[in-house]
């Protein structure tokens, strides 16, 4: 369902299925930055794409910031950041920075499961479970208030699948909340290789600026 105001549902889309939709919808010239749990599952889905920038190791919460830098450096490419809700809570100010920078080619996807999945599924401070019954933080409302041009929310896999390409193509900056289920036993992702070499390979895949 689109554009419903924020509460984390008891159930949501499977994280893996949500990422499979993104993988199918992604164009060949688009940059994808998976982080934390999404990075772990993204790497299992198949051969890595040269324009995947798997942000492991990372400074947690900074996927949106590194995505902003890439979007500024490469305005000709769409940059898709896959963040968790716990990660985004660590760097909410980055949403204001993204809008201030007026990057039309940046898409932030928040996979909202209400927990720090990789540390054992402790609830985030934004989740209803940790807030004495208060509503969960409404990330879509925050994005709208920060000035994102296009804001969407999906809790249903079929709707996400049917609309993914359309919303990725919306005028950015774009913010998408996907309500997902925590992955049972989900652990921290392993780096797919030495970070400096991966940074160099990624830069080469981008080509000259």
């Amino acid at each position: 369902m689109m554009a419903t105001a924020g509460k984390v549902p008891a159930t949501g889309i499977s994280l893996v299925r949500a990422l499979e939709v993104l993988r199918r919808a992604r164009r060949d010239d688009e940059i994808v930055i998976p982080t934390m749990g999404s990075a772990r599952e993204w790497m299992k889905l198949g051969e890595p794409h040269p324009l995947d920038f798997v942000l492991v190791p990372s400074a947690m919460g900074h996927g949106t910031s590194i995505g902003l830098g890439l979007a500024l450096a490469r305005p000709e490419r769409r940059v898709i950041v896959c963040s968790g809700d716990g990660s985004l809570l660590m760097n909410l100010g980055s949403l204001a920075s993204i809008v201030a920078a007026a990057v039309e080619n940046l898409v932030v996807i928040v996979f909202e499961n209400g927990v720090y999945e990789v540390t054992g599924q402790q609830p985030t401070a934004g989740a209803s479970l940790a807030r004495g019954g208060r509503r969960s933080v409404d990330f879509a409302a925050i994005a709208r208030a920060c000035g994102f041009d296009s804001v969407y929310r999906f809790s249903d896999e079929a709707e996400w699948s049917a609309n993914a390409r359309r919303v990725l193509d919306a005028r950015g900056p774009t913010f998408i909340v996907l309500d997902v289920e925590p992955v049972a036993g989900g652990t921290a992702p392993h780096s797919p290789g030495p970070a400096p070499a991966r940074a160099r390979a990624f830069s080469e895949a981008l080509g000259p600026r």
């Binding site: 920038f53 190791p57 990372s58 400074a59 947690m60 900074h62 910031s65 590194i66 995505g67 902003l68 830098g69 890439l70 979007a71 500024l72 450096a73 490469r74 760097n91 100010g93 980055s94 204001a96 920075s97 201030a100 920078a101 970070a195 400096p196 940074a199 990624f202 830069s203 981008l206 000259p208 600026r209």
Partner: protein, 159 residues
């Protein structure tokens, strides 16, 4: 210290493309001159940790960013700069305002004087202390040396 025009001219000569910043009362005065430069883009962020990661994305994307923050923001930046400079080994240059170095009357006992240089050393950032306007060219030579060596560096601007 320097005028904004002096600094922006230097950054243009160095072929810097983006300045990612959270201002203080010294470096903030340079913003308008940077914004007026057709060759520099000012990127305002909300917190200094963001600045290092925005710079990381810019660098990986082929741009030449400089982070411009106060030393208090350096203290806040720890994990973000650790990841960018040491995990990914990105040679990002920074301009860091050194609060209370020249004026110790305004904030007596300011611990910025205690921690700034040890923190830069701890993060293995090769810094050059700039205490007088006559040292403007030292920023450029230090930037050039760091870039040639492929290492992170900083100009530590006394305030």
């Amino acid at each position: 210290m320097f005028s904004g025009e002096q600094l922006s001219s230097l950054l243009e000569e160095l072929e810097v493309t983006h300045i990612i910043t959270v201002p203080d009362s010294t470096i903030g005065r340079w913003e308008s001159a940077i914004e007026q430069s057709p060759r520099l883009r000012l990127v305002r962020v909300c917190r200094e940790g963001e600045a290092w990661q925005v710079a990381a994305g810019l660098h990986i994307g082929g741009a030449t960013p400089v982070v411009m923050i106060q030393c208090t923001g350096l203290f806040e930046s720890g994990d973000a700069l650790r990841n960018a400079l040491h995990d990914w080994k990105l040679p990002i240059f920074s301009i860091i305002g050194y609060r209370s170095y020249l004026d110790q009357a305004k904030l007596p006992g300011d611990t910025c004087l205690v921690f700034t240089e040890p923190v830069l050393d701890a993060w293995r950032i090769d810094y050059k202390l700039i205490t007088a306007p006559a040292q403007l060219d030292d920023i450029g030579s230090h930037f050039t040396a760091c870039r040639a060596a492929g290492r992170a560096g900083a100009a530590l601007i006394a305030e």
